[in-house]
Amino acid sequence: MTREAIQAVINKHIMEISEEIQEAQIDPSRSMKDLGLNSLDIVEIVSCSMRELKVKIPRSELSKLTNLDALVDILHQTVAQKEQAPAS
């Protein structure tokens, strides 16, 4: 799965949570907080994205991330690892 596809999943969930946010406003070098989203919205967006991508990263590791790019990176890595691992 490409980085772009992962970003698209996150963007979709951001826009589902907030009707006010347009895709063009989403700047991956910034944080979701900068978009006016609150901490509960962010938890929901990340949870929904992980569910869709079928991966699970502890929230405690995600809470250190500072922008959307970093979130895409960690999800991208985790998805890639999962794709490489033999199905269990």
Binding site: N38, S39, L40, M50, R59, S60
Partner: protein, 422 residues
Amino acid sequence: MNSGSESDKFSLADFFLAETDDPLVPPPDFLKWRRDVAWAISLYEPSLGSAAEAICQLGSRPVINMASYGYLALMRHPKIIQAAKDALDQFGTGSCGSPILSGRTTLHDQLESGLRLLTGKQGVLTYNSGFAGALGTVAGLLRKGDCAILDERSHTSLVDGVRVSGARLAFFQHNDPQSLDSILTRESGKRRLVIVEGIYSMDGDMANLPALLEVAESHRVGMLVDEAHSILCCGPGGGGVVEHFGAGQRVGIQYGTFSKGFSSCGGFAAAAPEIVDYLRFYSNPYGFSCALPPATVAGLSAALEVMREEPWRRERLWENGDYFRQQLQRLGLDTGDSDSYVVPIVIGDDRAMLYELGHALRDRGLFVSPVDYPSVPLEKLRFRASVTAGHSRESLDQALGIIADVIVPAMRRRGLLKGVQV
């Protein structure tokens, strides 16, 4: 909790979205995690074999109780118990229906009068649960299209109230007037309500009410203050942080619970009579839920009376809080922002240590609760100690001795002790 295990990395924050097809099947990874951390979690929900007093019975032995919110130690006051017993005899066990359709008792009217006196507000509504009341008060006031602006450390009941209402939920940085100002500006044009607490439950610091009110007023936005941990305990007459700052006229709605200072159960909203009358019909946890039991209500009125007669309880509470906090600081421990009788002992980000120390403290006879992420930030895991008016100086010294034996060496080994100022 086994140090370094995979389960250590997960927390309750990770299992909200269930990956099962059937809501009646809990997530399998939650069940596995729950088994892995059973030892840690066994510290929660202990069964007490006595009243939740300063010394209580836990399992088969007495412990020093610093986990009770009964700040004024009213839970076994003879006058309150007698009033509740008399009401039980006269009015029976329950209120038997929603207040609007099935009525309440004259005892409820008396309690509301007492709460009017306490808060100086002319409208009062009582709820059978502190949580449901906070949720219902917020949800009764706000609508979709509105915006609630909460201190980021606000209790879940307030957050859930906003979510139920469908209003937009925004947080400002804890106790920071500038942050409040910028959020109020960002959300201008909407109907807005600022929501803060009197004393914050996990940090024990008081709302910076004068500065926050000034900002809210400059935007012409009203404020709700949840005094769950401060009502009856704070202010010269027990009227809470609002009374402490002399801000009664400036705070639109005051909310309080009966579970803490009152050592009972339930909650109330106090505001102008017109708002309260509106809430009567639009705050569902009031109108669609049974009124408080008469015995509870009689006990609450008696508690108000007791606190008029025994103001020393409030003084003792603050003295005890100051003593305990200062002694912890002398031990080099981090009590965060606390300036009250709610005293966190912040230990950092080591979860395994949190639970190991939690068990060691419990084994030594100190009942104090660990507070884990996501209730508090990851790097600020803590024990939350509540001091009450019922703690003797000896019991506080004993508790401090246990903490000095258990927490201090562990923190020192990890280089986490602050400069000791003996």
